[in-house]
Amino acid sequence: MADAKFFTKGKVQELREELAAADKRDTKHTKKRIVLKKIVANMTMGNDMSPLFADVVAVMQAPMLEVKKMAYLYIVSYARSKPDLAKLTISAFERDLVDPNPLIRALALRTMGYMQVDKLIEALANALQKCLADKDAYVAKTAAISVIKLYTYDRDLAQRTGLIDKLRSLLNNENSMVVANAVAALSEIAEKTPDFDMRMDFTLSSKLLTAMNECSEWGQVYILESLLYFVPQEHGDAEVVAERVMPRLQHANSAVVLSAIRVVLYMTNYILKDDIVNSFFKRIGSPLVTLLHNGPEVQYVALRNIQLILQRKPDFLKNDIKVFFCKYNDPVYVKIAKLEIMFRLVTDDNIEQVLPELKEYATEIDVDFVRKSIRAIGKCAIKIESAADRCVTTLVDLIKTKVNYVVQESIVVIKDIFRRYPNKYEGIITTLCENLDSLDESEAKASMIWIIGHYSDRIENADELLSHFSDSFKDETSNVQLSLLTAVVKLFIKRPTKGQELLPKILKWSTEDVDNPDLRDRGFIYWRLLSTDPVAAKVIVFGDNPPITSEMENLPSQTLEELFLHISTLASIYHKTPQMFIGGLRQKKVEPSAAFVFVTSQPMADTWMAMFCKLKVVSIKNHLTF
């Protein structure tokens, strides 16, 4: 079949004539077929074929399935723009709906459901009354999905006609594919309708779990997803459900595996004994790692979810760090996701292996990945004290490569290392100073200036360096300006003779020439402080900085808890709750019940920790410049 030839632009008028001509003496319908192919090809290319609507409706009754399907495809595409003509198709559909062949009945039902046109929606509601009860599972499973179509177009009608109740009763159907589609439709209704009661009891959940064994892989996913509407009333029920879901972790389809993990994690909210909860966490580890043998897209989904789980259980997968080492030909999104996991899993015991890896990554080509690798080295230094020496040596080696962005990124992280370990690594300042000219990013500049200012008593030519930076003061971004202002004040306090020339200039620029209130205010504060009480100025400017830690990147525990209910979804990939990017959705929550285990210490502590960290981040930002 060389149908590629149909992909040429056709004129509506010509096609109309061809179709009319084809209708005559076309007993085998081959001519009609060819014209319809041309029309469909033109639709695909984005050419407007809607003027042909009436002509296509005229041929849709041809008793040849292929012609019928193409005509349906056409009608579905243009029904909304031709509502009056679309009505004319109703009788044809109604005829098909009583066809003895279930495939024809289902096709008619499915196609009607795609047409969002008033009269057809009513016809669909009528048809569903019968089709939901069709003895043939193929028709019934199509009907189940058609209810959600109807619901999307006209909620009132769907409720008024009692179709949703009928849909619910399909959960008892003997065919598991029908059950699965009914579950899928009900779940979507529940998601879109906050007051829709979808809660399931233990009996229904058990029934669904039994049906799942005979479902297609997609049906298994629909059933697993719906189990989040089961709120266990007893710890034992939660354990049973989690246990029954476990075999799904061996399924070849990653959606089945991840949805099963979502159910297990959800059930842990209702399981009392810690050791049982922990054993579930343990058992989901291996299947998650196995997902990394899929294509990169599925790997990415798995990695983003592993990142979430690690925030709750930092020691989860702690022996598997090697599987997260990046392969040279991994796509960059996989590499970056792995990098974060490596950082979360790095400990005293494995830093030996991790550090050479990170150094290797820092010499790769992708700039973003290289920068993140360097950041990771810096964070390792901050997280693991015993490895700080080696991390710093590695960073110095990297600076020696003189690759512009490598140098700048290294300087940014070294500033943090200086803050974490004061008076330990100042020996490398000389190396840093050799690279001043290559700095053109504001963050790197601000960091370097902070270093010079803070150690201005040990850097012989600190005044020259700062004066060099201040030449372009007015063109710099505000963080560089703030950093420079503070650095010069520090220089002046430590070595008044060296700083006395530069200080008045900077203070004048800050307070008079720059249109940034923060800078101006800070300039005035310094000015008055220095002129009224130099001793107090020293205490304040060189006051203790709050300690820097590496554990700041966790999500707030409430967000994390909510994301656990969305494992494998887009939310779990964005690391944002669904409400943050989609409107009008029901918020998923862990419903309280008699079995709900309120973990007092951990989440509360987490919440406090998260708030504390936020404060810290803010305060550090301010302090940076002090």
Binding site: A137, L570, Y574
Partner: protein, 439 residues
């Protein structure tokens, strides 16, 4: 769920566009073209556009398979679905590329209507689909009706992957154990990671509704005490470290025909197979990985003289009775290499400019052998010296009758009502996954 599905060619032209929901417009495809196809820097398989709209894409051959959703959809289901579309396409057309899509576009539309309803993936088993969506076209009305009823029952049934009326004169089952061994070795010769991902591919040509029982030398199952006869003695002699070895699988995943609850309870693998070829299981092993090749690389970079010297030896560690084939070793060279000197003790090697590498091919590599390449890459004199990221040396190979994990098929039993005799064959193959040696 999905709001729409598109296929684009490499230029970004729409080959197929199927909208499942009215919350998106056809013109949305332009955004994908701009943001992904024409972009040189795609940093995620998921592209978020204006809040709730998300594109999911995979590349297959020379086309993009793309799904759009406006809900908080299960991302794994979307990617699995896109992968399945590619698989169905291959099953129908042999190859699923731009030419195949264009030549069969009405059939593709028909399939897209069948396998996904209102964005919910439905029946996607190629075997089931082929019963009623065919390339043949016209059939007599009566036959259509009779078949329609049959098909509807089967496609929605519990064993949707198999027709009940299959007949073969000779009942045969072929089992291929195919392993990909991954290695990452540091420049100092330490193994940073070594693991195996394996597949058991079965080609079943069996009549009726056969129930199969399949056994491996899986440590958990074997030590559980089951001892049944073998069909094929393990000829994989190089794995004989300690006699009757068992293999420790980190994890295994199965085709949907396998009864998972049975595996969970007693590690037995039982199933009614689809007809023809399918992937029965996939597994992963990281313990006691037998590496087929050891590579030693000495690479000296002389920045002043603009050249790099290599001396690389490759030794096969498997049994002398078996052999590796299509062995390819890629030795990366610096950018702007303009001259090379190469000497090998076996096989053929030459510099391939487009790959920036010296490619060394050894068609047949007997066990217990060693070959050496000595070469030099001379860099052109250029002022703008780009940094060389020194990508790792990589290897490609296939070694027959050898499994890196040590996995062996212990038995395959087939039960069927009519009690026919069946013949079973097992083959083993280990190939390179990403086999990389840093230097």
């Amino acid at each position: 769920m999905l709001s729409g599905f598109f296929i684009f060619n490499a230029k970004g032209e729409v080959l197929i566009s199927r909208l499942y929901r009215n919350d998106i417009k056809r013109s949305l495809s332009d955004l994908f073209r701009i943001q992904v196809v024409s972009s040189t820097d795609v940093r995620s398989p998921i592209t978020q556009i204006s809040g709730s709209t998300a594109f999911f894409h995979i590349k297959h051959e020379n086309i993009y398979l793309v799904a759009v959703s406006k809900l908080n959809v299960n991302a794994a289901i979307v990617f699995e679905f896109l992968g399945r579309v590619a698989l169905i396409g291959q099953s129908y057309f042999g190859r699923f590329d731009e030419a195949a899509v264009k030549a069969n576009f009405t059939l593709v539309y028909e399939l897209m209507d069948e396998i996904c309803d209102f964005g919910f993936p439905q029946i996607t088993e190629p075997e089931a689909l082929k019963m009623y969506i065919t390339t043949e076209g016209v059939k007599s009305e009566k036959a259509v009706l009779e078949m329609g009823k049959q098909i509807a029952i089967q496609a929605t049934g519990a064993v949707s992957w198999r027709r009940p009326d299959i007949k073969y004169r000779k009942n045969e089952a072929f089992i291929d154990v195919v392993e990909s061994v991954n290695l990452l070795m540091s420049s100092k010769g330490n193994i940073l990671r070594a693991d195996v991902s394996g597949q058991v591919i079965m080609r079943a040509y069996l009549s009726g509704m056969p129930e199969c029982k399949f056994g491996l030398n899986d440590r958990v199952a074997v030590e559980g005490g089951e001892h049944l006869g073998r069909i094929v003695p393990p000829t994989i002699s190089s794995n004989k470290k300690g006699g009757s070895s068992t293999v420790d699988l980190d994890d295994a995943q199965f085709h949907q025909c396998v009864k998972l609850s049975g595996f969970e309870e007693s590690r037995t693998i039982t199933f009614v197979p689809p007809d023809g070829e399918f992937e029965l299981m996939r597994y992963r092993s990281t313990n006691n990985v037998y590496l087929p090749f050891r590579v030693n690389a000495i690479v000296d970079e002389f920045a002043d003289a603009n050249h790099v010297n290599y001396k690389i030896s490759v030794r096969s560690l498997y049994d002398a009775k078996t052999y590796g084939q299509n062995v390819v070793i890629r030795v990366p060279t610096p950018p702007s290499t303009n001259a090379t000197k190469i000497k090998v003790t076996g096989g053929k090697a030459k510099y391939v400019g487009s790959e920036n590498a010296i490619v060394w091919k050894i068609a047949r590599f007997q066990g217990g052998q060693e070959y050496v390449i000595t070469c030099q890459a001379q860099q052109g004199e250029s002022n703008s010296k780009k940094p060389w990221s020194r990508p790792p040396i990589s290897m490609d190979f296939q070694v027959v009758m050898f499994t890196s994990s040590g996995l062996v098929v212990r038995f395959m039993k087939i039960f069927e009502k009519s009690n026919y005799q069946s013949v079973k064959w097992v083959r083993y193959l280990t190939k390179a996954g990403t086999y990389q040696i840093r230097f």
